[in-house]
């Protein structure tokens, strides 16, 4: 009898917004000081019977490159950008399909399906739940699309209005997009849970912008009596275009979305249990990157010279529940990255890992046969110049068509080294003493920076980065 895999993705979910991690709140919640900073009871419940990964770091950033990593088991940012799947990519649904598994994808993350990006490829069934930001869906000009915020504070006003138009028929919580996506996945599960071996991939863009939770979720976090601007898609970059009260409201909107997602993920998990699948199904819950809300003075996922990857963006939640109870209730501290998920899933399903895979299965580490699978996490984005579609590229934070190489970040269990290209300044932070990365100590520890730069250059070379890309990060004379 074959086993099953359920992969649940919430885009843009910060690690400090999953209560199970128990990390200090990154900011106060005015008016809610005595209450939990974030409510994620269902993820917390999952974590109790699962492994909670403490150092799950992004590899390729942001949304689409992350999916490429997950599909292929490769570190794509070394040599490719935000782009469709390549015809010769060896991808998860096709690999397991050849071994008799059925696969289904339910997603509302528009860049996976738009502009011929084709991230549905290989799945036996897929459904795109329509209406997220940038989804060219509803054109009805009679639908009012008010954005109660000054225009200069809103990123992509046209896309935000398209999003609002897409919500034309929304009335109840169940009509919001993440609930609709979960509902369709649950319906598929009811019909298909007796299949002999399946992969169910549920890919939600929430809590990504627009930050637009049902009002009763916002009320959990917003300052009572707030009557300021309602910035559901804040501009990226320097955050001081918002007042402190506005920024607090944006943070509350985001937290409301997180709890909305948690509620509906909980419904799915309940169904998995009711259908008797827990003893035969690997459950992976993850996100693809974080989001800045005033951290380092920045908002969103800025690019270019403001695109340094810090902990709130890179270090993200990962919860894996093994049906045999492997690692249940444990916190796993060694570094793990998204490309590792493909070999991890394949080993679980007893499907051979193809030679194209660059990453490692986590299971030897979980079983105690290895202390770690990586010495470093390598995180980055590929410059815009490789984009197939500028329209698609602007989905998720690219700074502009200046084709600059962004800084790459190297992390080990003690340090974070931001390796800047060419003449930009690099930075080093001692994560043990300075987890918020407030003090750049590169001048005090040049030997640490040199070691981590050397590791990065070797990694880029090993992963197939072009020589001209590697050269941008070489030591300067």
């Amino acid at each position: 009898m074959k086993r099953n895999v359920i992969l649940i993705m919430n885009d843009s979910l910060r690690r400090d917004h999953v209560n199970a991690y128990g990390v200090p709140p990154p900011w106060p919640r005015p008016g809610h000081e005595e209450e939990p900073f974030i409510r994620t009871p269902n993820l917390d419940r999952l974590a109790q019977s699962a492994m909670l990964f403490d150092r799950y770091y992004i590899a390729s950033y942001p949304t689409v490159p992350n999916r490429t990593d997950l599909y292929t088991g490769r570190f794509g940012f070394c040599y490719r950008g935000w782009q469709p799947l390549e015809p010769d990519d060896v991808i998860l649904p096709e690999i397991i399909g050849r071994h008799g598994y059925t696969s289904a994808l339910f997603f509302d993350t528009p860049p996976m399906g738009s502009n011929e990006y084709n991230y549905m490829r290989g799945f036996d069934a897929w459904e795109w739940i329509r209406g997220q930001l940038g989804d060219r869906y509803i054109t009805d000009p009679r639908v009012p699309t008010p954005v109660p915020a000054d225009k200069h504070k809103v990123r992509r006003m046209d896309g935000t209005q398209q999003y609002l138009r897409n919500q034309r028929d929304r009335r109840y919580e169940k009509d919001y997009i993440a609930p609709r996506t979960i509902t369709r996945a649950m319906e598929w599960l009811e019909d298909n849970h007796t299949l002999d071996g399946f992969l169910l991939w549920v890919d939600m863009w929430d809590p990504h912008e627009p930050f637009d939770p049902p009002p009763h979720y916002l009320a959990l976090y917003d300052r009572p009596g707030y009557d300021g601007q309602h910035i559901i898609f804040p501009q990226y970059g320097r955050a001081d275009y918002m007042t402190a009260d506005e920024l607090n409201h944006v943070r509350a909107l985001y937290a409301g979305e997180v709890t909305l997602c948690d509620t509906w993920v909980g419904y799915l998990l309940d169904l998995v249990e009711r259908l008797g699948l827990l003893d035969n199904t690997l459950i992976l819950y993850m996100t693809d990157h974080g989001h800045l809300f005033g951290d380092h003075g920045l908002e969103g996922k800025p690019g270019g010279q403001l695109g340094n990857l810090y902990e709130p963006t890179m270090r993200i939640p990962l919860i894996i529940r093994h049906p045999d109870g492997l690692g249940a209730g444990e916190r796993i501290s060694p570094i793990v990255q998204p490309p590792d998920m493909l070999p991890t899933i394949l080993e679980f399903l007893e499907v051979p890992i193809p030679p194209t895979v660059q990453a490692q299965s986590i299971w030897p580490m979980v079983r105690g046969e290895a202390s770690r699978i990586h010495d470093y996490a390598f995180c980055g984005r590929y410059p815009l110049g490789t984009m197939y579609s500028y329209t698609a590229a602007t989905f998720d934070g690219w700074a502009g068509p200046d084709r600059v190489a962004s800084a790459l970040t190297v992390v080990d269990e003690e340090w974070s080294f931001i390796c800047a290209p060419e003449t930009w300044p690099s930075h080093l932070f001692h994560l043990v003493e300075d987890p918020d990365e407030t003090e750049d100590v590169i001048a005090r520890y040049p030997e640490v920076a040199a070691r981590m730069r050397g590791a990065l250059l070797a990694f880029l070379h090993e992963m197939g980065a072009p020589a001209e890309r590697i050269a941008k990060y070489a030591p300067r004379s």
Partner: protein, 73 residues
């Protein structure tokens, strides 16, 4: 950004300077209720000298003026 580049300044409701790189964009974003309404044309170098932390909107994100200066190198 070249100090000679002409940029377009508007004010937000608190009087804070917002710098845009085209008049069209400035006209779209201008706030009639701002304490200093209207659009002011200046070379980027003037902004840099007098308001290094003014917010400059370039390609969907805000920089401080001083950050665009060092990028220009």
């Amino acid at each position: 950004m070249d100090p000679e580049t002409i940029v377009y300044l508007i004010r937000d409701r608190t009087g804070r300077i917002i710098v845009l790189t085209s008049r069209e964009e400035a006209e779209e974003f201008v706030i009639p209720e701002a304490p200093v309404p209207g659009i002011e044309e200046r070379p980027f170098g003037w902004v840099l000298e007098h308001h290094p932390r003014a917010l400059v909107r370039v390609f969907y994100q805000y920089y401080w003026a001083e950050e665009l200066a060092w990028v220009a190198g």
